[in-house]
């Protein structure tokens, strides 16, 4: 069981409050998506869930245990892939396995299996600079999945990809989630992506980030975004993000006064 839970989490960087009283839950084996404007602390939430950072106050629980530091069963996927440029694709995937005690030879063989899974077995000896954006992200995904994570965190992983590759990767992530049973938390500002993937959608407001609404979406995959229910939700979310964009033009004090007058 790898349910992820944020309980009254506040996160400040110096005098700046990035996230305020964040409370939400991503049930075990489900696909959570956090959506919100830039600077609403979405990525900070992932760092907290990964154990790379600590909340200023509040708690993050994973599988019922408080997250305190890095755990073996959590993997994080970044927008910029963050593959090590001095390692081949195979060595990148094998790195995490060897760091967790697997013998180098065995780790290399296992890495090749995971690369084959993402359709990149033929590119095992290529370095990241010789791969396209989509291929790099697939190697990064193979590196993450090789660790057999109970929780897969993704920080706008497809934002730098072209439309077709993004669609292919979304389908791949969905099928991988089905196969591995991992809990997923993805951060994005792409509405269509959020509605395509999410079982649970966490809508955030900006500066400081706070949870506006948590929406469960029960719809089979692949989803038709022109379905009346999803289309209506899309319009609602668009309206929210547009309002957030207008609000972002004002200072925090002005925003507070405006919200108080509503």
């Amino acid at each position: 069981m790898t349910e992820l839970q944020f309980q009254h989490v506040n996160k400040a960087f110096g005098a700046t409050l990035a996230a305020r009283d964040v409370c939400f839950r991503v049930p075990s084996k489900s696909f959570g998506v956090v959506i919100g404007p830039s600077g609403c602390g979405k990525s900070s939430l992932l760092s907290l869930a990964a154990g790379l950072d600590e909340p200023s106050s509040g708690y993050v629980f994973l599988g019922g245990k408080e997250v305190r530091g890095i755990r073996d069963d959590v993997a994080l996927l970044f927008q910029n892939y963050n593959l090590f440029p001095w390692m081949t694709a195979q060595a990148n995937v094998a790195f995490g396995l060897s760091m967790r005690g697997m013998r180098q030879r065995e780790a290399s063989a296992k890495a090749l299996e995971y690369l084959n899974d993402v359709g990149l077995g033929a590119c095992a000896n290529k370095i990241p600079a010789e791969l396209s954006g989509g291929m790099k992200q697939r190697v990064a995904l193979a590196r993450a999945l090789a660790l057999k994570p109970g929780l897969l965190l993704m920080d706008e992983p497809f934002a730098a990809l072209d439309y077709q590759t993004r669609k292919i990767m979304q389908r791949y992530v969905l099928s991988t989630r089905e196969r591995t049973g991992a809990t997923v938390l993805l951060v994005t500002h792409d509405l269509a992506e959020a509605l395509t993937l999410a079982d649970r959608l966490v809508l955030m407001s900006g500066a400081p980030g706070s949870v506006q609404e948590v929406i469960d979406i029960a719809a089979p995959h692949p989803r038709d975004l022109s379905h009346p229910g999803l289309a209506a939700l899309m319009r609602k979310l668009e309206a929210h993000l547009e309002a957030e964009a207008v609000l972002s033009e004002f200072t925090a004090d002005e925003r507070g006064r405006m919200l108080a007058n509503e």
């Binding site: 090590f84 760091m99 370095i127």
Partner: protein, 311 residues
């Protein structure tokens, strides 16, 4: 060029409100455009040959100009001996100064200087890298060693010569000491900056993948900083080369630096000019050697460039 299939116009029916008008515009193909096959990439070995060619050409022009000015009497050929005066002297191996036990020849001077600079340089680089890793990895070391390195860095190598001669005595030990002290501070400060500049994302990924201790530093942080560390290595060599020559000129009475000082004292300007040319050429060759080593150390950057250059 074939016209692409117009998917939207033929395969899809688009129901749009009446005020929305969508027009499919045919591709605008200009015949005069440059075709991909017309682009001629410059191969890596061609650009390297161009570099060597321009190097030789520049020195040929400088040499010819020098000869001309000396022949016309504009330059004093006895002081600024032209290449036709000192090159045969150098090639025939006549370069020597002093007599008896104190006689210094070119080959022994070159060997002594090279040995001193390489030993001092390698020891200083190893100490700098180790020190930089300790400074970056352990907070108390940063507090203790970094101010020390920053204080040593601005001390000119020649300032260490009196101390070196007093403590180690005349000879190779003193020269190695001067080289070591002359570059260890600045190389440490530069290496710390290189390690500190490693992107946070690599650190996060390494930690998430379970890297710690020596694995974290040697398999992630040092390779990530390698391009900047290689630049530090090459810059440090110039410092080391200047330090050893200054040391040999200012008291350690052997090696290339001592040879040209002896040449000056005996007004043997052929020897002085030959010495200067040998110092320049050796420095250039060793720098090229270090550049080659650097390319091997950061091999992935070469593959990256090949990939991003049109072939």
């Amino acid at each position: 060029m074939s016209t692409p299939k117009r998917l939207i116009a033929t395969d899809l029916s688009i129901d749009q409100p009446s005020e929305v008008r969508i027009t499919i515009v045919p591709p605008d193909v200009t015949q005069a455009g440059t075709a991909q096959s017309d682009i001629k990439p410059v191969a890596g070995n061609v650009s390297r040959a161009l570099g060597i060619g321009s190097f030789l050409m520049v020195w040929l022009v400088v040499g010819l100009l020098w000869e001309l000015l000396a022949a016309k009497g504009i330059l004093n050929g006895r002081v600024l001996v032209p290449p036709s005066g000192f090159l045969p002297y150098l090639i025939q191996g006549q370069g020597a100064a002093g007599i008896g036990y104190n006689k210094v020849t070119f080959d022994t001077a070159i060997l002594a200087t090279l040995m001193r600079v390489l030993v001092g340089f390698i020891l200083a680089l190893a100490a700098s890298l180790l020190g930089a890793i300790l400074i970056c990895a352990v907070r108390p070391f940063r507090l203790a060693l970094l101010p020390l390195a920053r204080t040593i860095a601005p001390i000119a190598p020649v300032a260490w010569i009196p101390l070196a001669i007093t403590v180690v005595g005349l000879g190779s030990g003193a020269a190695i000491f001067v080289v070591f002290m002359g570059i260890v501070g600045s190389a440490t400060v530069a290496a710390v900056a290189a390690l500190d500049d490693v992107p946070d994302e690599y650190r996060k990924v390494a930690r998430l993948l379970g890297a710690a201790g020596a694995n974290y530093w040697l398999r992630v942080i040092v390779p990530a900083a390698a391009p900047a560390l290689v630049t530090t290595m090459r810059m440090s060599f110039f410092g080391a080369w200047m330090a050893v020559l200054a040391g040999e000129m200012a008291g350690i009475s052997s090696g290339l630096g001592a040879l040209i000082i002896l040449g000056q004292q005996q007004f043997n300007m052929k020897l002085v000019m030959s010495g200067i040319v040998v110092i320049g050429l050796l420095g250039f060759v060793i720098d090229q050697l270090l550049a080659w080593v650097g390319r091997r150390l950061v091999w992935w950057e070469g593959r990256q460039q090949r990939w991003s250059t049109p072939r």
